[in-house]
Symmetry: D2
Subunit: 334 residues, 4 copies
C-alpha cells in the first residue's frame, strides 16, 4: 500500500500516522521527494482499511499495490478452477454453452427448447423463474410453477439447470438447482451472497451494470468466504453513455479477469446487446476472445416471449451460431 | 407509446402486430411517412410491456410517452408529499438536515455526536449499524449492539433515527427505527423493497450508482405498491469516468425529480464526493439547487472512524456549515 | 420525427406550433391520447432542427425516427463501400490488417517494422509523425522528418501508409499520404473534417472517446459533404467508469454500424486496451465479430518506444497473432 | 512517481529498469514487500514519460504523485489569477455573470439582449457566431456578419464580448475579441490551443464532454506555454449514462479545481442541463458551490432561436435569476 502525503504535511502528524500504521503490525518505509513524501507500507497490508488512512488530512491519496482477493485471486490459486456439473465442464480449457429462454413459460416451451439447445451442443439449460424487473408492473416470472417445469426439462434432457435467485426467501426452492445464478442487480446484495455461498453449490455471478472488476471479485470473495468454491463470473454488459445498444459489452474483461483470478469467465451476449441481430457477432467475438462459455437466450416464438423477446435467437439461429462458435474457438486457440 | 417500424417492414406482419396490440385493449393510430411507419398507441398503454413489442423484428424502436409512475408520479399526486417524523418535517417546503457518523461506534461517540448535530440544527440522526462493504474483510458494523446505541442516542436527544437495512433477515431489528434507509447497492433488491414497504414506515431510498431516474422511481413504486407512502429519494452521486472525486454528484436531478414526482428529494454530499473538503461546497450547492434536505456525515475524530473518515466533517465544521446552508436556502428562494 | 407534448399543453400554443411546422413544408398528424398529445411529423423531416421544436415550452420531448445520414447511411447507398488503396482492399468482404509503430522514430525502425508486418500479412503501414498528446511536455512526434521516413518505408515495401493529421496547417505535408487519419480528439474538429474532406482521399476516422454512433456518422457526413467518398470508421475504445483497462472496447458497434452505414468499420485493439497482453484476444474478438480490418501497433523494442510502448506487440507476437486472426475470420464466416 | 513491479519480476530486468531511470537523472528508492517490489522515483520526475516505464513488461502499474501542471498548478502560482477585461473582473473573489444568446441572429436581437443582460448585472456578453454543430446540415452561425453585430452590441453597451473560435482559419476575425472561447469539442485541438495561446488574450476553455480534470488542466498548459496567461476554465456538463438531462453537471469540480489550480472556474448551466427549467436551480447551485462566474444563455424568443432555444432563459427570467444568484453567493460566503 502506498500513501502519498500532501505537500504541506506537517512532520508531527506524519509521525503520528506512521506510529499508528506500525501499531497495525505493518512496516513503513519513507520515500522523501523534493516536494512530497510517500509512505510504502510493507507486510500484511491487506488487513488495513485504506479508508482509515485516507481520513488523515495530511494524506493526499492511498493506492493499493495488492488486492484482497484471498480466495478468488490467481496468486492464492494459480491453477484454473474447473466447474463440473453433471457431464458439463467449464473453465481450465473446457468451454460450455448455456442456453434456454429468458423466462420459463409452459411445459411444452421449456422441454422443447431444452431438447433443441441440447441437440445444438448446449451443455446447460438456462430459464428464469423469478424475474428481476425494473417495474413492479411487469411480468415477475412463474416462480414455484416455473421451477417445477424447469426441473422437468432437466429430467427430460439430462441438462443441468441454471436459474436466478432473487432473495433469501427463495432459498428452499433452490436446494436442487445445479447452478444458482446471482443477477447483476444483486451482485452486491451481501445477505444473498452469504446465504448462497453457504449452500456450497456452483454459483454463476453476474457483473453489476457499473461494477468494477475489483467489486466483482470482492463479491466472489463474499461467496467464497461463506463456503462456495465453484464460482463462475459472467460479463453481461455495462452501462455507458452509448445509447445504440442496451448495454455495452466489455469484452476485454475476459482476458483481464483471466490474469486476476482462477475462476472461469463466461459472457452473456443476449443481455449485453439486447438485440437478436447483435447476439451472434458478439457470441463469436467472446469465443474468440477467450471466454470459457456463453449464456445465450433462445426462444421458439420471440414475439410472444414473456420477457426479453427482442434479444432471443430462434432455435435454428442458435444451432447455426453454435457451430460457428465451436469453429471460432478452435481457430482462436491457434 | 410510440412504435417505430423498420423501413422494410412487410404489411402482413405489420397488420398482425396491430391486431395483437388492439387485443390488449389499446388503440392504434398509424402515421405513414415517406420511408417509415410509426404506430401511436393510445389508451392505457402503461400495462403493455414495451419489450414484447420490441421483440417483433419489424420493430425498430419503442418509446414510452408516459411512464408507469402510478404512485410516485406528479400526475397521480400533484401535491408535494411532506414526511413527518416526530418534530422533523421534510418536503413541501420543509427543509431537514440529517447528520451523524458513518458508523455507530461507541455510546460516548454516538450520544455526543447526536447532541452536537442537534445543537447545530439537525432534525434527524443518522448512524450506520449494518455497513454495506465492498469487501468481506472490511468492518461490517456493530449490528445489534450498534442499534441499541443508536436508540439510546435518540432517547437522549429526541432526534428521530435513520439507519440502513441490508436484508430481510434484519427486519425485526428495524421495527422501532424511525426512517429505514435502503442503500445504493440495494436499490433494486426487490425482496428487500417489498418487505420494507410492508412495514409502512418512512423510507429513505438512495439512488444506485448507475441508476436512471426511471429506475429510481420504479424502485419507489415497489415500496409504494407494498404499503409505504412516505418515501424520501436521495441523490448520493453516480459513477462516471471522472476519477478526481469518489462519485459524481448529479445535482440537476433535484429539480428534475421535483418535476416528475411528489416525493421529497435530499442530497448526500458526503458519499457523493468522498472528501471532507468538498462536502461544504456541495451541501451549499444542493441547498441552493432546491434539495428538501441534506444527509451529512459528522465525526469527532475522523482519523479513527471505523469507516469513511475521509469524508466526515468535525462537529465544529458541521456547525459552521449548517448556518451557511440555512442562509443559502433562504437566499435561493428569492 | 415524433413530438411529445406536455400533459398541460394549451391548445392555442399547440396550434401555433403545428402551423409553424407546416410552414416548414412538413406534414403533421395528431395522435391524441388520454393524457398526452403526440405529433407525428411526416415528409422531409431531416431538414428540421429538432432543437427548434424542443424550445417550445409545451414540448416534452422530440424523437427522430430517421437520421440525417444522407451520404453515410445504408439507405442512401445499400452496397458496402470498398476502399481500394494500391493493392490493399478494405470493406465489402475484404479484410485488411494495418500495422506499424505508434510513432515513427528512425529509418531503421520504420523500414524494418514495415518489412516485418508485410511479411506477416499486413496490407497497410501505420506510423505516427504528428502525435496528439494530452500534455505539451510529452513527445510530439518527429513531424516533417518522420513523414519522410514513413514514405521511405512505403517505397521499400510498397505498403500504402496511414498517418494522423492534427490540424489544417499540416495539410501540405499530407498530399502524398495514402490514407489520412483523423484521431479521436479531432473527431468533431469541423475545420479539419472539411479541409481533409476536400482532399478527396481515403480517410480513417476514429471514434471520439465519448462519441455516440450518431455523432461518428455525422462527422463522416462532414467529410463526405466536403468531397471524401472513401471513409473508414474506426472503433478504438470509449471512456467509461471501468479502470482496469485504458479504455473500454465497444465491439458491438461493429455489427451495429454495419446496419447503419455502408462504410467499412475497423477496430484498433491497441488503443482500446492500452496493454499488450489484451491486444491479441481483442484482435481475435474483433475479427470474429465482423470487423473489416484491424489496426495494431507493433514495435521491435517496446521498452524504448517513444510513445505507447505498453500496448505494442513485438513483430514475432504480431506474426503469430496475424495467423490466428485470419483463421478466426474464416471460421466466423461459417 | 511510483512504479509497482509485477510479483514475478526478475531481478535482472528490474536492475536494468532502475539503471535506465537513474540515467534520466531521477533517484530511485526501493520498497521490497512480501510479494511485490515498489520503486519510488524522486526528483524531477515530471519530465519522465510514464508510458515509457509502463512499457516494461515487469511493470504492473505506474502512478504519478505530482502532476505536470507547471503553469496552471496552484503550487507554481499560489495566488488566484484574476481576469480583468474592461470593467469586468473574474476570479480571486470577483464573480462575473456572462450572458447572451446562443447564436447572434440580428442586430436588433443582439443589441436588445446585450442591454437587457447588462441591466440585470451581467458584466460580459456572450454570443455565438461560429457554431459547432454535430450535423453539417444544421445552422452553422452567421460567421463574419455575426461577428460584426456582436461588436456593435459591445459598442452600444460597453460589455466585453466572449465568442467561440472553431479553427485557426478564423483567427484574423478574433483579433479584436475580448475573451476567446474554445469549445468542448476543441478542448484537445492542439493546433487551435497553440494558436490561440499565441494571441496572449484571455481565453475561456470549456471542459470536453468526457475530459478528466487532468486533461483540462493539460489543455490549459498548451495555452499557457504558448503565451496565454489569463485562462478561464468552464464546467459545462459531462456525458454519462443519465438520459434525463442533456449532460450531467459535475459541480464538485469547482472546489476540486480551486485546490488544483489558480485559474478561475465558471459554470455554464445552460449547456450542462439543456433545459430552461433546470438552468435557474443549477445556476444558484453553482454560485453557492463557489464558482467564479456563470455563463447563461438568454433569448427574447426561444421558440424562434436558431440554436439551443430549449435551454434559453427569457430576459425577465434572467433578471429574476441574477438577483437570486447574487444573494446566494453572499449567503454562501458565510
Amino acid at each position: 500500500m502506498i500513501v502519498i502525503l500532501k505537500p504541506d504535511a506537517d512532520l508531527q502528524t506524519q509521525n503520528r500516522l506512521i506510529d499508528w500504521i506500525r501499531s497495525q503490525n505493518v512496516e513503513v518505509q519513507l520515500a522523501q521527494g523534493q516536494r512530497q513524501t510517500v509512505l510504502c507500507l510493507l507486510g500484511d497490508t491487506e488487513q488495513i482499511d485504506a479508508e482509515q488512512i485516507a481520513a488523515w488530512r495530511i494524506v493526499d491519496a492511498v493506492k493499493r499495490v495488492s488486492e484482497p482477493f484471498r480466495r478468488s485471486g490467481r496468486r492464492a490459486h494459480p491453477q484454473d478452477t474447473v466447474i463440473t456439473v453433471g457431464t458439463a465442464r467449464l473453465g481450465g480449457g473446457h468451454f460450455c454453452l448455456i442456453a434456454g429462454p429468458c423466462s420459463v413459460e409452459t411445459e411444452e416451451q421449456i422441454v422443447a427448447l431444452a431438447k433443441a439447445v441440447k441437440a445444438s451442443g448446449a451443455q446447460m439449460l438456462r430459464g428464469g423463474v423469478f424475474k428481476p424487473r425494473t417495474s413492479p408492473y411487469d411480468f415477475q416470472g412463474l416462480q414455484d410453477t416455473g421451477m417445477a417445469l424447469l426441473k422437468l426439462a432437466r429430467q427430460e434432457t439430462g441438462l443441468p439447470i441454471v436459474t436466478e435467485i432473487m432473495g433469501i426467501g427463495q432459498l428452499p426452492l433452490f436446494a436442487d438447482v445445479d447452478v444458482i445464478q446471482i443477477g447483476a442487480r444483486n451482485m452486491q446484495n451481501v445477505e444473498l451472497l452469504r446465504a448462497v455461498g453457504q449452500m456450497k453449490k456452483p454459483v454463476l455471478l453476474k457483473r453489476g451494470l457499473c461494477a468494477t472488476l475489483r467489486e466483482l471479485l470482492l463479491s466472489a470473495e463474499y461467496l467464497m468466504t461463506s463456503g462456495a468454491e465453484q464460482v463462475i463470473l459472467c460479463e453481461r454488459g455495462i452501462r455507458t453513455f452509448d445509447d445504440y445498444t442496451r448495454n455495452t459489452l466489455d469484452l476485454a474483461v475476459v482476458p483481464m479477469l483471466h490474469e486476476l483470478t482462477h475462476l472461469p469467465v463466461i459472457v452473456d451476449p443476449s443481455h449485453a446487446t439486447g438485440a437478436a441481430a447483435l447476439v451472434a457477432p458478439m457470441a463469436l467475438a467472446a469465443a474468440a476472445g477467450g471466454a470459457d462459455g456463453l449464456m445465450i437466450e433462445v426462444h421458439d416464438d420471440p414475439v410472444h416471449a414473456k420477457s426479453d423477446g427482442a434479444q432471443a435467437l430462434r432455435p435454428k439461429e442458435f444451432d447455426a451460431l453454435a457451430r460457428r462458435v465451436f469453429a471460432v474457438r478452435e481457430a482462436a486457440r491457434g
